[in-house]
Amino acid sequence: MSNETSGQQDDILRVEHISKRYGAVTALTDVSLRLGRGEVLGLLGDNGAGKSTLLKTICGFQQPTSGRILLNGEEVTFRSVTHARALGVDVVYQDLALINQLTVYHNMFLNREPVVRPIPLLRNRAMRKIAQEHLDEIGVKIPSVNAEVASLSGGQRQAIAVARAVFSDCKVLLLDEPLAAMGVKEGAMILDLVRGLKDRGEVSIIIIAHNYGQILDVCDRVNLLQGGKITFDKPSAETSVEELTEIVVAEYRRALEERHRSA
């Protein structure tokens, strides 16, 4: 269930007036967005619109030039991705941060592995059991938690990365192009996973994508990012792929005309 009606005071994450410049290049201009508790927000935009920059700023990979980020109403400065993660903001990248050479369960527990005492050997059996339970709980199906991640499909890897983030008590999950380079079935699996998480209501999710069709379906609300600015903010029920596409194409035409005029 979406939380559109809840007041802005209840937002888990708020980005206020964020700008990001790299030397002379301005990647983001006064971007503000809000993410309600348990909400799934689609952050859409064409290539080069500033999606990646915004994502990197929210997840602690880089600091904004100006503006601020509020988590649970409190202003925060993420010093690093690790820091943001510790505060409950986690990102699942396109090029995943899983370790391909390790098993699924070792990945799930990476850097939080339980060990026995006094000789600190890994408690593999316990990890396998908990990892399996957790994957079952949120509905991720893979051949085996013992499988090397390298042997899994792109969708399965993505699902495990999401499961790991949720498993590590993440409250705000950022998904960067979760459907890119993914087959239809794989994409459907990821979208099902997102729906499942939405129903559980424990995490709030921002999905970054340039492909509107499938995304619109799972999002409560969509924001459109164009040329480093948020130009559009509507509940997804009140918009359509056609409307979004039209806006982006119109913007493209306008830019093209301007270039012609100045040439």
Partner: protein, 325 residues
């Protein structure tokens, strides 16, 4: 049924190298190489293996992370001189060995810092470090051989003097480090760093600490290898060790299935890789092939073993892909 067993076997990472080792052994045995299946011949193989396996352990840890240590062979050269120095200064032999190993682990500390903090590729950084240590060794010892004092030989019997002692130490350590690599957080992080450096760092793994630690382990093991060799031969030779031992151990490591590109590696495979080199050397030696021609055959054998390895691994991967739906 046979195909099934074959599949199960192929699934093991060390499968290809076991196959190669067995084939070689059978070849030398069945082609009735004189004295190949004798105690003396096995002792030769074991004594050959000991030191390479020791530094191979350190190299496996480093190569999994995509790093290397060329200086370990020069630590090998220096270590027994340091033991000798401490014994001369009045330390008991056991204490001298322990102090030497700890002291020379600092070489690894420097190697690690040069690699992680200054960002020098370890191939170059450790080569430079190797020359520095070697030059220091030659200057300090005036490039003179030294005889191990008898008192050291006494304690050194169980540490390298007896026929099997070095081999048994090395093999025991392989088993310990196999568990270390596959059953501890440190081992897991070592693999993670080699497999996905950024991912490892982002999940909060202290990448530099692990790297420096493994460099220190490698140097320590190089010191142990040098000391054991000196006890075995009862002389301390400034021309021992050096780069050639690193390269031979490296061959063993790679034949054993550790990826040059990092991300995967096995201790058991390394042990088998060094065994293959040992069996080859021993077998051709017993067939009366001179040590000059031996080099050609060794080189060719390394190539063949690697080609076989790559081929069998390709089969493995194909099997794995088929197994996946």
């Amino acid at each position: 049924m046979a195909a099934r067993i074959g599949q199960l076997f192929l699934r093991q990472r060390e499968a290809s190298i076991v196959a190669i080792a067995v084939a070689l052994f059978l070849y030398f045995w069945l082609s009735s190489t004189p004295d190949f299946v004798t105690h003396g011949s096995f002792v030769d193989i074991a004594q050959y293996m000991g030191p390479y396996v020791l530094i191979g352990i350190g190299l496996v840890l480093l190569m999994i992370m995509g790093e290397i240590d060329l200086s370990v062979g020069f630590v090998w050269t220096l270590a027994p001189f340091v033991v000798h120095f401490f014994v001369d200064s009045g330390l008991s032999t056991i204490l001298a060995i322990i102090v030497t190993v700890l002291l020379l682990s600092l070489v690894g500390l420097v190697n690690g810092i040069v690699t992680t903090v200054f960002g020098v590729p370890s191939l170059i950084g450790t080569l430079a470090m190797g020359y520095i240590i070697f030059g220091f060794t030659l200057t300090w010892t005036a490039a003179q051989e030294v005889t191990m004092p008898t008192i050291e030989i006494g304690v050194g019997r169980w540490f390298g003097g007896e026929a099997w002692s070095e081999f048994l130490w090395a093999t025991a350590l392989v088993l310990v480090f196999h568990v270390f690599l596959t059953r501890t957080r440190w081992g897991l992080y070592t693999v993670s760093i080699g497999g996905n450096l950024l991912g490892a760092r982002e999940s909060g793994i202290k990448v530099n600490r692990i790297k420096v630690g493994n460099f220190m382990l490698c140097s320590s093991l190089g010191a142990v290898a040098g000391i054991e060799e000196a006890f075995r031969t009862s002389t301390i030779d400034p021309s021992a060790g050096q780069l050639s031992v690193v390269l031979i151990a490296l061959a063993g490591v790679v034949i054993g299935g550790t990826a040059m590109t990092g991300g995967s590696g096995t201790m058991i495979g390394m042990w088998l890789g060094v065994l293959v080199l040992g069996v080859l050397g021993d077998g051709f030696n017993l067939r009366g092939i001179s040590s000059n021609e031996d080099q050609i055959i060794l080189g060719a054998a390394i190539l063949l073993a690697m080609i076989a390895n790559t081929y069998i691994n390709r089969l493995r991967n194909a099997g794995r892909l088929q197994g996946k739906v």
